[in-house]
């Protein structure tokens, strides 16, 4: 890709302090995100996958500075936003938006859908009242809702429709970059396809860049161009979608793919399962975080953390053995 990245993240860290006792002393950290770097080009989707507690949602929020990163730099269209003041940040928010997982709690129950979608326009003083209304009506039609539904409250919509309202709100300011945090996970199977298609159509139309966060590997394989796999706060594999799904290199990616149940009973797969639970990010295992569950682990994996290194064709893997 020759175009400059819409978003470039380098060395992103987010530690949540654990405080105990009367004096709220800091006794340790939850290393939710521990040195994550990636970039997304215009019109590209980066899929960020991993299991619960791996830090993928924290990355999504830290990238938008909805939570303050502990370290690292984030550049949107070449401009470093990590040093932007609160004031500057508010203006910069026009360029980046977010769509959440839960279609119920992501809309204020007391505000009409039309006002929810129009709110970003109002905040940034875009147009006059009637112009804003026309724009909201347009957005409603675009995401597959009727303009007449602008007067409805969120509870009058189904889960899929609410997610459309959320998407319309995210599009209102015409941002170039959208974080989609598990946008279809809470939806019924037959509705998921509608929302995925909508997101992909919008991307083609407007050249949007997505950071698509999901635990559903099949959805990510469908929507993403490149994929980053996270485990306990670190990216363990970062590759082109086709390459990654065709031949995962990191043992964790391999285990993840092997664990997904496939809707094809004729397929008889060799089952190789990883044992054990995901360890706590408060006290992650030494060396490679995955070594206690890894079937191939050697002595080196227990002591030395592998770095994410290029194994050719822009593919990155953090594993001593690959």
């Amino acid at each position: 890709m020759d175009k400059p990245p819409v978003i470039a993240v380098a060395g992103l860290r987010k530690f949540f302090p654990i405080r105990r006792g009367l004096l709220n002393r800091r006794v340790g950290d939850v290393r939710a995100v521990d040195g994550v770097s990636f970039s997304i080009a215009g019109g590209e989707t980066l899929g960020l996958v991993g299991e619960s507690g791996c830090g993928k949602s924290t990355v999504g929020r830290a990238v938008l500075r909805l939570i303050e990163p502990s370290a690292g730099t984030i550049a949107i269209n070449g401009k470093d936003i990590t040093t932007a003041s609160k004031q500057e940040m508010r203006a910069l928010r026009r360029q980046m938006q977010i769509v959440f997982q839960d279609p119920f709690s992501s809309l204020n129950p007391r505000i009409k859908a039309g006002d929810i979608v129009g709110e970003p326009l109002k905040v940034h003083g875009v147009g006059r009242r009637d112009e804003r209304e026309a724009r909201v009506a347009q957005l409603f039609e675009r995401v597959g809702l009727r303009a007449a539904q602008m007067n409805n409250y969120p509870h009058q919509f189904s889960g899929g429709q609410r997610q459309r309202v959320s998407i319309a709100r995210a599009l209102a300011l015409d941002p170039g970059f959208i974080v989609a945090d598990e946008p279809v996970s809470a939806l019924d199977v037959s509705i998921q396809a509608q929302v995925i298609n909508l997101l992909m159509d919008l991307q083609r139309e407007r050249g949007l860049s997505y950071l698509f966060i999901s635990h559903n590997l099949a959805v990510v394989e469908h929507i993403a161009h490149r994929v980053a796999v996270m485990y306990l706060g670190r990216i363990v594999e970062y590759a082109d979608k086709v390459a990654l799904f065709a031949k995962p290199l990191h043992p964790y990616t391999e285990a993840l793919l092997a664990a997904v149940p496939l809707p094809d009973p004729a397929l008889k797969r060799v089952k190789h399962r990883v044992e054990g639970d995901v360890p706590s990010p408060i006290d992650p295992p030494s060396g490679c975080h995955f070594h206690p569950r890894c079937p191939y682990a050697e002595a080196r994996c227990r002591s030395e953390a592998p770095v994410l290194r290029d194994v050719g064709a822009g593919r990155l893997v953090a594993c001593h053995l690959r």
């Binding site: 199977v189 995925i196 298609n197 496939l262 809707p263 004729a266 639970d277 995901v278």
Partner: protein, 327 residues
């Protein structure tokens, strides 16, 4: 072989402010020993209400099981008095839930909860029941079972809790296990472990498993037979291979077409510009069902008859049933 669980003509309704809601309409199926039958469908299709009806755990009111029978080893659960039903629950038919945290008592150690079950149903003395609890925890592959038995549910991870709940459900060797979305709240790698575990224990005990799920992948990997439900009714039933290879009902065909599949490794993946096939519209509200086939408003093949009359559930091929005028 005679089926262990035989459900016929089950009808469950809810009396709500908006009127009568028919959550389960005329549902029948049977499960043999050692077999897994999956009920699939989306939220509001009646699959969970069916499971709760079997256990007689429907809150009454507003719910009511209007008619039908649920036979476990020939005994109709719907005709039992409450006392005998309590004996059956956990003893002959057990259930595991999506969120084990809500199903386990937070104030009692896991070992004690299992021991209580065993004392209640098998009449074992306390010491023997405790040993049995540890044995069960070991059987569900919880490491250090003796220590874990002394832990409270909140001290365990989600996967561990689900194992503990399975241990409790199977402690009295029930004939039937009803598993309602047992892995939906879990991560994929843990889901795979739990599904393997249920399968292994089922083979060992010969338990009949009724698996309630929305995940077609889980169905394909674990079930032998499948019932597809839509808006409170069965719309298709057959062996897992028939259903996935030759889906008859447009709803199932739509569902199978709409899910993205993991397939780069198999050369199956769609090209990046290819759209998923959508099922238009949304699931109708149970309080406001169309007069004919409930799926007709979303169905591309629907004609006048579909909109007017409810299609009968009948055999379309050998051992493959569907409720569709067009199939």
């Amino acid at each position: 072989m005679a089926p262990v669980l035989e459900v016929s003509g089950l009808n469950t309704v809810f009396h709500t402010r908006r009127g009568l809601v028919r959550a389960v309409q005329d549902v029948s199926f049977s499960v043999e020993a050692g077999e897994t039958l999956a009920i699939v469908g989306e939220s509001g299709c009646g699959k969970t209400i069916t499971a709760l009806s079997l256990m007689r755990l429907i809150p009454q009111p507003p719910g009511e099981i209007v008619s039908g029978s649920v036979k476990v080893d020939g005994t109709d659960l719907l005709r039992l008095d409450d006392r005998t039903m309590r004996q059956m629950r956990g003893g002959k038919i057990a259930m595991i839930f999506q969120e084990p945290m809500t199903a386990l008592n937070p104030l009692m150690t896991v070992g004690k909860q299992i021991a209580e079950m065993v004392m209640l149903h098998d009449g074992l003395p306390k010491a023997a029941a405790k040993n049995r609890a540890v044995e069960m925890l070991q059987m569900v592959r919880i490491p250090e079972p003796a220590r874990r038995a002394k832990e409270y549910p909140h001290q365990m991870s989600g996967g561990m809790r689900q194992r503990a709940m399975i241990a409790m459900a199977l402690a009295c060797k029930p004939k039937v296990l009803v598993a309602d979305e047992p892995t939906t709240a879990l991560d994929v790698t843990i889901q795979a472990q739990i599904l393997d575990l249920i399968g292994d224990l089922q083979r060992e005990f010969g338990t009949a498993v009724l698996l309630i799920t929305h995940d077609l992948g889980v169905v394909a990997e674990t079930a032998q037979r499948v019932v597809v439900m839509y808006a409170g009714r069965k719309v298709e039933e057959g062996s897992v291979s028939d259903l996935f290879a030759r889906p008859l009902h447009p709803y199932l065909r739509g569902l199978l077409g709409s899910i993205p599949r993991l397939g780069s490794a198999r050369g199956l993946a769609l090209s990046p510009d290819e759209r998923l096939r959508e099922i238009p519209g949304m699931v109708p509200a149970l309080s406001d069902l169309p007069p004919g086939c409930a799926f007709a408003p979303r169905c591309a093949q629907a004609d006048a008859k579909c909109h007017a009359q409810i299609p009968p559930f009948e055999a379309k091929q050998a051992n493959h049933f569907a409720a569709c005028w067009q199939a």
